[in-house]
């Protein structure tokens, strides 16, 4: 089945290089780009590996959050941004009540979860009204929610929500500052237990959490609910006829995704240590989706292996592209723009392929 989550499937009986190349053309292409980039940039391998592990630990949750909506046939969830906002609400809360360290991290998770569930429910309801164009709707919904988010934190803080702390509120007493210093909870989970393996530092707890999430996703896909997701992903009409409450299942799928995204954003920020109140969440959806697609996923097919491989490749590109751009063209900006182009381009490309395929299928059906 196309939407299988099983990552350690036994290899095909006959080792077929050609089909292997075709099936994994996207990740292989980016692998070549990355290897070339590593050589051009001339960065030490140990530095790159360290960076990859840090970035893997902080971004993996956000990428994994995308998998369930894909399985449920709702496409790429651009509304991930909304989950990230819920996570940031939790972070602002712990800054206001001033609880740091591990307790602060747990409190942020606890405080953000109800918001994430609520936002997920709302998003699901809206997406049920726009079946067939979930992706454009969730994208615009992300922009719209960003407006509401700014309204709350720029205008309501200090007027409706009483916050006085001059460290976080703008000098006029209304609105949060652009950057909140979260040093008091930075590395809250990263520093619990670290392994130094030949100069490569591995933060064990976030990696364990990621493994736990993978296990949870695998578990959920095998339950009755997971079967419903897959049924919806195969054909929503058939699923409806066979007695599945499709609207409800879709709401559940998107709620799970947004909640994971909220936690993912908290893990992300606890590693970074500063919250850019009005910017940290904006690129979350795009980067996570681009990473998943670079790993070989598509609008209708996503496996956990895609998420892991994609995150590694995408973030390798992140590390090397400014330096490679500088070495190749004498301008680091070109590397930056190239990276943005790859993120948008890979998303655009896979949307085109998906739509094209759908169109051809519909045409064949008609004839």
């Amino acid at each position: 089945m196309s939407t299988q989550l099983n990552t350690n499937k036994p290899a095909a009986k006959r080792f077929n290089i050609k089909s292997l190349l075709i099936n994994n053309s996207v990740p292989l292409l980016f692998l070549v780009v990355c290897i070339a980039g590593v050589f051009i940039s001339g960065l030490p391998l140990r530095f790159i590996l360290n960076e990859i592990i840090v970035r893997l630990a902080r971004n993996m949750f956000l990428v994994l959050a995308l998998i369930i909506p894909v399985i449920a046939g709702m496409g790429l969830n651009f509304a991930l941004v909304i989950g990230a906002m819920a996570g940031q609400i939790g972070l602002v809360f712990i800054k206001i009540v001033d609880v740091g360290g591990l307790p602060g991290f747990i409190l942020a998770i606890a405080f953000s979860t109800p918001f994430a569930l609520l936002f997920g429910y709302g998003t699901g309801k809206l997406l049920n009204k726009t079946k067939g164009r979930e992706m454009i709707t969730s994208l615009i919904l992300g922009f719209f929610a960003n407006g509401l988010y700014q309204l709350v934190f720029l205008v309501f803080i200090g007027t409706i929500i009483p916050v006085k702390n001059p460290e976080i509120v703008l000098s006029g007493g209304i609105g949060l500052k652009n950057a909140l210093d979260l040093k008091f909870m930075q590395y809250a989970i990263d520093k619990i237990f670290k392994i130094n393996f030949m100069g490569i530092v591995i933060p064990v707890v976030p990696i364990l959490l990621i493994a736990l999430l993978c296990y949870f996703l695998r578990f959920i896909v095998r339950t009755k609910l997971g079967q419903d997701f897959r049924a919806l992903g195969q054909d929503i009409h058939v699923a409806k006829v066979s007695g599945i409450n499709t609207d409800k299942v879709r709401v559940i799928a998107i709620t799970i995704s947004i909640t994971i995204a909220a936690w993912g954003q908290i893990i992300f920020i606890q590693n970074i240590g500063t919250l850019n109140t009005y910017a940290s969440h904006e690129q979350v959806g795009m980067f996570a989706i681009a990473a998943l697609l670079i790993g070989g996923a598509s609008v209708t097919k996503a496996k956990m292996s895609n998420a892991i491989i994609g995150t590694i490749l995408f973030h390798t590109m992140f590390i090397i592209s400014p330096i490679a751009g500088n070495k190749l063209f004498g301008d680091a900006q070109i590397g930056e723009f190239f990276r943005t182009f790859i993120s948008y381009g890979v998303i655009g490309m896979s949307l085109v392929l998906h739509a094209w395929q759908k169109h051809m299928n519909a045409k064949n059906h008609e004839l």
Binding site: K129, R133, I136, T137, F144, G172, D331, G348, A362
Partner: protein, 347 residues
């Protein structure tokens, strides 16, 4: 009262009615605050003229059945490129502006043809594909702006001597050329009637085109593709014409925008421009399937006046923060979301 409200909603749709109400309230507050009303009128008119053709560019796309043109940035990029070439050729005045317009057209036709070719292969997903095609082309062109061999010292970075600047001043080229063509003074302000005349001219051309044989075929193709196909209309060709026209107007639109603004903005600036144009036409009462010239005009008046008036009024009420920008984000995206829910599902 309830019935009157219902009638209004039925006739004009939620976005138009609620934005009109918001605008009326803002106007009343502005009068109470003793804002400079003729100044606000002038600013609103400047913005209407500036954005007019970009909004008009939505019409052929919607009518031909390809939906809201989220990939308008492709046309915008063609226009900017043409503007740069015109500056590079060292032209000034009307010659500079109209040369830019003429140069932009072949670019837009080629780009529009390719874009239309793609959209004909992704029927039903034009909006998602268009959005991301626009995004990726804007970032690809960002690399292009850095590498293109332009030489004019007005445009390239002073340091390094390579790559175009983020904003290119047009004050010695064609800034305000249409605005000042016919400028009517009103209590110390110059109303940019020239640009509005140019907009009116383009609207009339579009209106005439829609009445022509091709225009009628295009409308039919958009209205009901199966029926149009059955009556011998080549639906894909009509969609192609719609997209090419839209891209062309996008290119011309950004040049009009630039002459009024006084600067050409490169790199990431075209990224979100289609969204503003889409919001304006939707506020005017268009949907993803129906659009008229009147929607363009009323949408422009409502949306641009709202943006212009809200800025000083809200800043006076709340000097902190950037509330008017927040309102712009909420209104424009809220309107687009509403339109998407109205398109209905595929099933």
């Amino acid at each position: 009262m309830k019935k009157l409200w219902q009638n209004l909603i039925d006739k004009y749709g939620y976005p138009k009615v609620s934005i009109t109400l918001m605008l009326i309230i803002l106007c009343i507050i502005a009068i109470i605050q003793k804002q400079d009303m003729s100044g606000l009128l002038k600013d609103s008119m400047v913005r209407m003229g500036m954005n007019g053709i970009l909004v008009l560019a939505m019409v052929p796309c919607i009518i031909s059945g390809t939906g809201l043109n989220f990939g308008l940035s492709l046309g915008i990029i063609c226009g900017i490129l043409a503007g740069c070439i015109s500056v590079e050729l060292n032209l000034t005045g009307y010659k500079a502006f109209f040369t830019a317009v003429f140069i932009s057209i072949p670019f837009s036709v080629v780009v529009g043809y390719l874009y239309g070719w793609l959209l004909n292969r992704v029927k039903g997903d034009e909006m998602t594909v268009g959005t991301y095609l626009g995004f990726s082309m804007v970032s690809l062109m960002s690399i292009g702006w850095l590498l293109m061999p332009f030489k004019s010292p007005e445009m390239i970075w002073a340091i390094g001597g390579k790559g175009l600047r983020t904003t290119i001043a047009l004050s010695d080229r064609f800034a305000k050329i249409l605005d000042n063509m016919v400028a009517v003074p009103l209590s110390g302000h110059l109303l940019p009637i020239g640009t509005l005349i140019f907009l009116g001219f383009c609207c009339t051309l579009m209106w005439l085109f829609l009445k022509s044989k091709t225009g009628v075929a295009m409308t039919a193709a958009g209205d009901n593709p199966r029926f149009a196909y059955a009556s011998g209309i080549n639906v894909n060709k009509q969609r192609m014409i719609g997209v090419i026209l839209s891209t062309m107007l996008g290119g011309i639109g950004i040049l009009v925008y630039a002459q009024s603004f006084g600067f050409l903005q490169l790199y990431q600036s075209p990224l979100m421009m289609p969204f503003g144009a889409i919001a304006a036409i939707l506020i005017g009462g268009a949907t993803a399937k129906k659009a008229k010239i009147s929607h363009v005009i009323s949408g422009l008046i409502l949306f641009q006046a709202l943006l212009t008036i809200s800025l000083p009024v809200i800043n006076k009420m709340m000097p902190e923060g950037n509330l008017s920008e927040v309102i712009r984000i909420i209104v424009s995206n809220g309107v687009i979301l509403y339109a998407l829910t109205k398109v209905g599902g595929n099933d």
